[in-house]
C-alpha cells in the first residue's frame, strides 16, 4: 500500500514534531499509535522535540508493569525509543503524583520508602511548563489520547 498524501503538500524533511500522550497503556491504543507515529517520523528524518505524558498517559512510565509474555511491553518500547533515538520522554509531575508514578527524588520526598520509585528508564518527571515549552520549540504538536 502506498500512502497517497500529495507530495507537493509536504513542506520539509526535517520538521520538529512534539507529541502529547493522554491515555493509559494497554487500556487505550493511544500509546501504541503515538509510538508507531514517532517511529515513522524518525524514519522520515524528522526530529522529535519531546513526548509529554499527561492524564493517564503517565502510567506508561511505570517500571513495574509485567504484561503477558505474548503481548508487547509498552513501557519497554518507549524506554528503548529514548535509549536508541534520544527522544526526551517527560512525565507530568502533577499528573504522575496523582496516579502514583514517582522518581527517586519524589519517592524520598513523600516518604514512600527505599526502592519505591517506579519511574522506568528513559523517562523523566517534570512540570507542565515542559508541555508549553515543547509547543513553542516544535513545528508541529500532535495529541494522542482517549
Amino acid at each position: 500500500m502506498q500512502p497517497t498524501v500529495p507530495a507537493a503538500r509536504i513542506e520539509d524533511v526535517d520538521v520538529k514534531i512534539s507529541v502529547l500522550v493522554h491515555a493509559a497503556p494497554y487500556t487505550h491504543q493511544a500509546a501504541d499509535t503515538a509510538y508507531q507515529f514517532i517511529l515513522a517520523a524518525i524514519a522520515k528524518g524528522h526530529a522529535i522535540t519531546r513526548v509529554f505524558f499527561y492524564h493517564d498517559g503517565v502510567n506508561i512510565a511505570t517500571r513495574l508493569a509485567v504484561p503477558p509474555a505474548d503481548d508487547r511491553n509498552i513501557q519497554k518500547c518507549w524506554s528503548v525509543l529514548a535509549a536508541e533515538h534520544g527522544v526526551d520522554l517527560v512525565v507530568c509531575i502533577a499528573a504522575a503524583q496523582r496516579r502514583g508514578i514517582l522518581d527517586e527524588g519524589e519517592a524520598r520526598r513523600h516518604g514512600k520508602g527505599d526502592g519505591a520509585a517506579n519511574l522506568a528508564p528513559g523517562f523523566r518527571i517534570a512540570g507542565l511548563g515542559q508541555l508549553i515549552e515543547m509547543g513553542i520549540q516544535s513545528d508541529r504538536l500532535v495529541v494522542f489520547g482517549a
Partner: protein
C-alpha cells in the same frame, strides 16, 4: 488544519463533532476505532458522505487491517495511509487537532 478522530462513531460523538467543525480544505484522519466509520452500508458512513464535502478524508491502513476491514468494504473517496503517510499529513498542515 488536520483533524484526528480515534473513537468509534457508534460509541462516541467525536466524529460528528469533528465533521461539524472541519471546513473546506481541512483534512480528517480516522485512526484506531474511528476507522469503523468508513465501512460501507453503516450508519456512520452515511453521515460521513453527507458531511465531508470539501474535506479530505484519510484512514489509517494498519488500523483497518487489525480490525479485518478490507478495502472492498470502504466507502468511496477515502484515502488509505500508513503511519508514514500520517506523519506526512501532520507535516503538511500547520496545526492539528485531536477530537478525543
Amino acid at each position: 488544519m488536520l483533524h484526528t478522530v480515534n473513537a468509534s462513531p457508534f460509541e462516541r460523538t467525536a466524529l460528528t463533532c469533528c465533521l461539524a467543525h472541519a471546513v473546506n480544505g481541512d483534512a480528517v484522519v480516522l485512526i484506531e476505532d474511528a476507522v469503523y466509520a468508513v465501512v460501507k452500508g453503516s450508519t456512520a458512513s452515511a453521515e460521513i458522505v453527507a458531511m465531508t464535502e470539501g474535506v479530505d478524508l484519510y484512514v489509517l491502513g494498519p488500523d483497518l487491517a487489525a480490525r479485518g476491514i478490507n478495502r472492498a468494504k470502504l466507502i468511496a473517496g477515502i484515502t488509505e495511509i500508513d503511519y508514514a503517510g500520517f506523519v506526512d499529513l501532520v507535516v503538511a498542515h500547520t496545526s492539528s487537532q485531536a477530537w478525543l
